[in-house]
Symmetry: C2
């Protein structure tokens, strides 16, 4: 088992949303709480490596959230603050955490977000393009160079409405991290093994298919790995699980500076560990007290529950 | 790695259907081929231990199928042959193997099946009550005694129509093996971890939830194990996968005569191996050429694809 602090850290650039969420689940409701893909990713990755966050918030964004991210060492020089309201998202989850109903989505200041990366961000070794408009993905890709690994996420609305642009993005990234229904939609393959392999034909050399309660699948050249999810009986709030997963995954890779199969697999498990803690509370409620010892403990439990 | 032939074999009694299936999948169609829960179970378990099959066929049942089962050493003294037609089932599977449409189901001679077990079958160490009417389960349970492990399967129609009787059966069995949607329906728990634990409260000390392409979960007292499915790109015919799984699972336990956690986990993986071969062909097309070396090879591949 590697200690989390043992190796030199890489730095990850993440570009995505920083939001105020209102979420209802069978376990309760949280109003106007910290959310956003870049936020969950950055917080999660911060347990493994340095993170530079690029995003935008309005003047209504509580400064305590900024302090919270800074407390984990997240570099916020790339977080723009603009006159207006912060991105807001309202959703309701059913008994099945996959049944999510978006009640409202107000882009607000995010609407005209076209980030100009800081000079020192442009050569980031690791990059995560969170689930945002593929046109924005391309704008950012044009500003960066010399990266060791670029990963991106996407979702159904982009696959439906901007598939050509998304495919152009995919030819420029090293890894695609997406969920099972998105993988099926993107590739037209119902079978997830075929879907994963098809993604590798679209450009990325690494494909990660997240399956929620069923775990995650990793596809890379000539290799395949299946990880279960950590058994959680009470999923308080599924929001951010996917971005936390990506944060743990890329964070671990950046920390170790190595994308060999063994490290990729460990990264998947650390991603799963981060996602499992995320869903144990609304917003960042569980994550905010998370220690590195907690991560190591759950990593060990993953070993135990998959060993035969 | 245990060699499959190294230990003394237990004997398993299986009671279930022996059928002639007509199945259509995106890969083709098979008409009037060998099927049935007891058949798939027995054939699969025969790779690990001795199997006594109890079921019923009509006078139209091809004798080549009997020879086929005998060639694997399956004891057919308990297979009744009765004037009339054999149980027939027609189904169509969609692109998603979970989308199954039953086109017709004719119980025929199975309609009045009330087996009287042979004397030497009544003390079978291992028993599998395949997915049949829970009233039949109870009839059989009254005829057996001294078993080491009794397992059963069930399905949605029994959960809906005969829940009280099913619950009575569950109080008398050691293991319940069922699929994810059935586990949710039986327990009323959407979360599979809660569902698995709830099953342990209903009587069985072992619960196995089969999740198709997502693998299987094992619940026993104080323990939990998650196994992925073997990655199969072309699922020719999902029929019999669950019963083959159960055959590999119980077969392995019977062979080793030990239900410690380590053996239970290995049994789950051998069950998954058997299911994976079953779906690679229509009916028994892939299974009929299966060697013990094939099993060992795939078991090793399971280790590789889950290791981190």
């Amino acid at each position: 088992m590697n200690s989390l602090k043992s190796s030199p850290e890489g730095t990850i650039l993440v570009v995505g949303s920083v939001a105020l969420d209102t979420v209802e689940t069978p376990f309760g409701k949280a109003e106007e709480v910290l959310g956003g893909s870049a936020t969950y990713f950055a917080y999660s990755a911060s347990y493994f490596s340095r993170v530079n966050l690029v995003g935008i918030v309005g003047t209504d964004f509580p400064s305590e959230h900024l302090e919270f991210l800074k407390s984990r060492g997240v570099d916020l020089r790339g977080l723009e603050r603009k006159e207006g309201k912060t991105f807001r998202w309202k959703a309701r989850y059913g008994e099945d955490p996959n049944e999510r109903e978006t009640l409202s989505l107000c882009l607000n200041v995010f609407q005209d977000f076209h980030p100009q990366l800081l000079e020192d961000y442009r050569s980031s070794e690791y990059v995560f393009l969170a689930n945002i408009d593929p046109d924005l993905h391309l704008e950012i890709l044009e500003q960066i160079s010399g990266s060791k690994l670029i990963a991106c996420d996407t979702m159904n609305i982009w696959i439906e409405s901007k598939k050509e642009i998304l495919l152009r993005t995919l030819r420029k990234v090293d890894a695609l991290i997406l969920n099972d229904s998105e993988a099926r939609m993107l590739t037209g393959e119902m079978n997830l093994i075929r879907a994963g392999k098809s993604i590798l034909d679209l450009g990325p050399r690494i494909a990660v298919i997240k399956k929620g309660e069923h775990g995650a699948l990793l596809f890379s050249e000539g290799s395949y790995f299946a990880s279960p999810a950590y058994p959680i009986e009470s999923i308080y709030d599924p929001t951010g699980a996917g971005d936390s997963f990506a944060g743990g995954f890329l964070g671990y890779l950046a920390k170790n500076g190595n994308e060999g199969e063994e490290n990729l697999r460990k990264a998947i498990v650390y991603g799963s560990v981060m996602a499992s803690y995320t869903v144990e509370g609304f917003s960042f409620n569980r994550l905010k007290s998370l220690t590195e010892a907690d991560l190591e403990q759950r990593y060990k439990e993953f070993k135990k529950l998959t060993q035969f």
